[in-house]
């Protein structure tokens, strides 16, 4: 869009370089007044919010690492590529503003596939009031890559860092955990020789949707920041156990989590149990849940009640506390043990 486009020979006859960019430009909604220069110049130009801090994040989805086109549609991939970035802005307590879209397209990717990818991405952008300001398209000799860079805005005193927690703060998590992991496992099992279990398909389908199209907690994150209902916040992209550990370490505290309080997705728990695994351990370790973990001081109870009303329908569950005692513990059947390390990527 802003930068040199090198696309696959496959696109040459169908649309050509400028045609492909034009195709994307035509899909974009009318530009808001703070987008001064949109796609078509060397770079995009925006007017930053007066007096606001700017949040910057980037996250890529790589075929064969973060998604498998047997399990996700191109529209799912477009949705998720923006969702994982929205989740980062939400976890800082900010509101998202401008996205840059960097596409690396393999030969196998048709124009229709690009259109579908944009369907998923632009629908979520519209709902999230995000403007696609520019980007870059290139050919990929390997996997499909969708890399998004996203800006957001927050007021100075409203920023939610990982390090803002204090001993005594209550820990809350939004939504349900373990669903994305169960959804992916079910998709993988379905395509293998392995039996897929006797569970209710409709309930597991919720888990599959959670894996394919996670709903970033954009509104919750912005509200937690704006109202100061939270001191610290982080998203669960690497699982709840990892998030608890990171907030506690960055805040210089310990943490204690109550296993019976964990909002494990019902169908996910049943799926884990059915295949003989421990639902608590898997839900704590499972990555790809884009829920928020946050720490709320006792004095902010009232503010949190207000936030809870405003995000009606999204459960916020009290799962434990930040503690003076520096260890990170899980209370289970009355006994304390070390919290699992969280999802390990390698």
């Amino acid at each position: 869009m802003n930068t040199p486009v090198r696309v696959s020979p496959r696109f040459a006859s169908e649309a050509g370089e400028r045609g492909l960019i034009e195709r994307i430009r035509q899909r974009l909604p009318p530009a808001p007044p703070d987008l001064v220069v949109g796609p078509g110049d060397d770079a995009a130009v925006v007017r930053p919010d007066r007096g606001a801090l700017q949040i910057l994040t980037t996250d890529a989805l790589v075929e064969g690492v973060h998604f498998d086109l047997r399990f996700s549609s191109y529209a799912d991939v477009g949705h998720k590529a923006l969702a994982v970035n929205l989740s980062d802005i939400a976890a800082m307590g900010g509101g998202p503003r401008f996205a840059l879209l960097s596409l690396m397209l393999p030969e196998s990717c048709t124009l229709e596939a690009v259109d579908q990818l944009l369907d998923g991405l632009l629908a979520l952008a519209e709902r999230s009031q995000v403007t696609v300001a520019g980007g870059n398209i290139t050919r990929s000799p390997g996997p499909l890559v969708v890399d998004v860079a996203l800006t957001g805005a927050a007021r100075v005193r409203k920023l939610l860092r990982r390090s803002g927690g204090r001993a005594g703060d209550r820990l809350y998590v939004s939504g349900a955990i373990g669903a994305a992991k169960a959804g992916l496992e079910w998709l993988q099992a379905r395509t293998s020789a392995q039996a897929v279990g006797r569970q209710d398909r409709a309930e597991l389908y919720e888990c599959v949707e959670q894996y394919r199209r996670p709903e970033p907690r954009t509104r919750l994150g912005a509200l937690l920041g704006r109202t100061r209902a939270a001191n610290a916040c982080m998203d669960l992209s690497d699982g709840l156990a990892d998030a608890v550990r990171q907030i506690a370490e960055a805040s210089g505290t310990g943490a204690k989590i109550e296993s019976t309080s964990l909002p494990i997705h019902r169908a996910a728990a049943a799926w884990f149990a059915e295949r003989g695994a421990d639902p608590v351990a898997l839900a704590l370790e499972g990555g790809d849940d884009y829920e928020l973990l946050f720490a709320t001081p006792a004095k902010s109870k009232g503010r949190l009640r207000a936030v809870t009303r405003l995000v009606r329908g999204l459960p916020l569950t009290h799962i434990g506390e930040l503690t003076t005692e520096p260890s990170i513990r899980l209370v289970r059947d009355g006994a304390e043990s070390a919290l699992p390390r969280g999802f390990v990527h390698f």
Copy 2:
């Protein structure tokens, strides 16, 4: 850095996920005061310049498409990944500020290779006063990908759009053209059975360096914007012919280029001629030159002289004019013909 890191098993024993991020963080210079939150949280947070517009750009280098590790070192790739983005900010008349670095690392990429890539990128970042604010690291099942997103700042009335040119403006180009193309051709010929010619290697080496480590015209772009010595500007990433066409089309003018004025790199011209090709055509079409093309109105002659003194050592060559007559012409041996279409990517 800000976002989930999924790295190759190869890094597990050597450094681990956090180790790899920590390794990068330790390489970063002390953060400037306008970087409020650097690597290590969900996202980076910066304090935008008061009253300034913000420029956003992203550009990726993909192994096998934009570079070949037989011809470029990892340090070259790191340098160029930032350089191509700096060139976009310069072409808008802005000054660069914050970079997000998105790395997709194949199994074959060792920790030493990542270090070298950072050497090249961070050295250029320091010289350009760019702060690496965050980023993302992931495994790649295919090529090495380095995707950079870069912000810059410019004042409202100082922005250089492609569309700002007027009939009668003089067209100037910085530096020399055709060098990157000649450098790449020489590298390719050297590894093939083809003879590499009798040319002076030292001079061709300048072309090779231009291909491997293009010098973005950061200072020139910022000066052209700040002084309003130019009306319109664009970088030559897709070649001079393409840039002339794009500025003229966006500005609603034609253009006339004088072939004898073109600052074709001497060794490149000799290389093209030696292999029986037309140096003018190749220099016009050759991509990967990160020089600037800009349009200067007659009344700004004095300003341009001031800029010329300030970028001492960098030639700015008058190559033609924007015209009322809408065609895009090349004057050669007294005869006019249509300017070549520029580098075609597919």
